[in-house]
Amino acid sequence: MLNQLTISGLAAKLAKREVSAREAMQSCLDQIARVDGKIHAFISHDDGDAMAQAEAADRELAKGGHNARPLLGIPVAVKDVLAVKDQPLNCGSKILGKFISPYDATVVEKLKAAGAIVFGRLNMDEFAMGSSTENSAFGITRNPWDTTRIPGGSSGGSAAAVAADEAIATLGSDTGGSIRQPAALCGCVGLKPTYGRVSRYGLVAFASSLDQIGPFTKDVRDAATMLGVISGHDPRDSTSVPQPVPDYAASLTGHIKGLKLGLPKEYLIGGLDPEVKAAVDAAVKQFEKLGAEIVEISLPHTDYGVSVYYIIATAEASANLARFDGIRYGARVDGADPIELYSRTRGAGFGAEVKRRIILGTYVLSSGYYDAYYLRAQKVRTLIRNDFLKAYETVDAIVTPTTPTAAFKIGEKSDDPLQMYLSDIFTISCNLAGICGVSIPCGFTKNPKLPIGLQLLGKPFGEEALLKIAHAYEQSTLWHKDKSAMVEQ
């Protein structure tokens, strides 16, 4: 089945003309038709447009176009937070109404230039706010390993689609763990690049100093390929960094002998599930077998990460989401004056979690509280970043669990926002520090069988070393090959 292949696997078959892009695309659409009723990874997909792109890719393949275009004919689906020209964009919210994107996000332009078939709108927590994909106006997404459980979030659709072989790869966005956490819970590879590595132009902003776009893939080699395509300086995003894009795949040598991996003692918290801990301990032993040196390190301000995050992220969100006011786009609820129109439109259009964060963010920025909350949080952010920079003076990467537990039950945390926020405890600091991180499969819980994710955190712009380490581990294990029974049938 072509939908089960990796990018590298499918690209090889396409290059040899053993199969066509149309067959590959059709195979993904068939899988969606078969399993997405149970998983609901997709909000929508435009099959006619996808097949037209596949036909165009086949014409290019016939001319040998694959030599210059690494994703030619590869079906890639995107999170509903990225603009794709002439396709709907809703951010999992009611407030955008019947919005159709007038332009492509930079990452979408780059995917198309690399030959990818860009299709589908993947479900997400509304405006990327959440850790379970239960906060979507378009219904919940379910975990392909156990449909009574959440797939993680906010990019739950992006993770579930890859885990269920509905797409060859997908894109998501990560503000506090929204790529790595669902990748861990669904058993795929999820990469959050360094802040500034990938242009955010055409990504609907949640927290502008933390947001970063990244890939979900079936293995680390594919993550390297995707990162190479989407990275690079973009004059349209003033925070994208003018730094050359290396050949990430070239760094996947399998050799990590002598590299130093840091194990932060602060991550062995009380809430860490014993099976998750055992899987991560085993992964650390595996790294030692591969010749890496394990060093205990300290990230002393770890415990303040969640507090800092929920001040900075909500403050930035309250400002960013001011644009959804019913004037220039999206749904509108009329009022007697502009203020009433804004207020009614926003009250009707936003869901509960988005309202909660707008209120919190407005409060921490409001007169009299700015210094106590926002400014203090920005200062503690400096301390957290310094913890990491200090650690990287002695280690090449840091190893942690991605999440404290495997996927939890649907509804289990939806009434307790603080408990939900604490499920991001291992992923949040990476965004605050602006470094890169990846989650890769490192085992399963026994009963029920649910994926466990290993998080590797790399230096700023250290994606080559990060992917090299992740790849060496992956190639020495079989975890990434396992599929849920429901997906395989």
């Binding site: 303040y304 926003r346 009250g347 309202k355 949080a377 503690v380 301390l383 970043r385 926002p417």
Partner: protein, 95 residues
């Protein structure tokens, strides 16, 4: 741990966000809990720490001041909930 007085109605007005009475009560209670948790930041001495606005050391990023193509007028209006004569329609602002 003391939690500051939290006036949901006032903050909702600042945010131009209409809340139903039951939403006000639920949000007030939940945010009280979250603010209580956040109080732990006060344990730290940050007197001599510089704030981090974002993690990339870029300042004053500019581009040449040149005319270049931008979103066509019709495309910018395409998603408007109400428009007329090539403009966004809004409620009356000035009497």
């Amino acid at each position: 741990m003391s939690v500051p007085q939290f006036d949901v109605k006032y903050v909702a007005h600042l945010a131009r966000l209409h809340l139903a009475p039951d939403e006000e009560i639920k949000l007030g209670a939940q945010l009280g809990g979250i603010l209580g948790y956040i109080e732990k930041l006060k344990e730290l001495d940050v007197a001599n720490v510089e704030p981090t606005a974002h993690a990339v050391p870029l300042v004053n990023v500019t581009r040449p001041d040149e005319v270049r193509p931008s979103l066509p007028h019709d495309d910018a209006l395409r998603n408007a909930p109400a428009q007329a004569n090539g403009l966004f329609m809004v409620p009356k602002i000035v009497e």
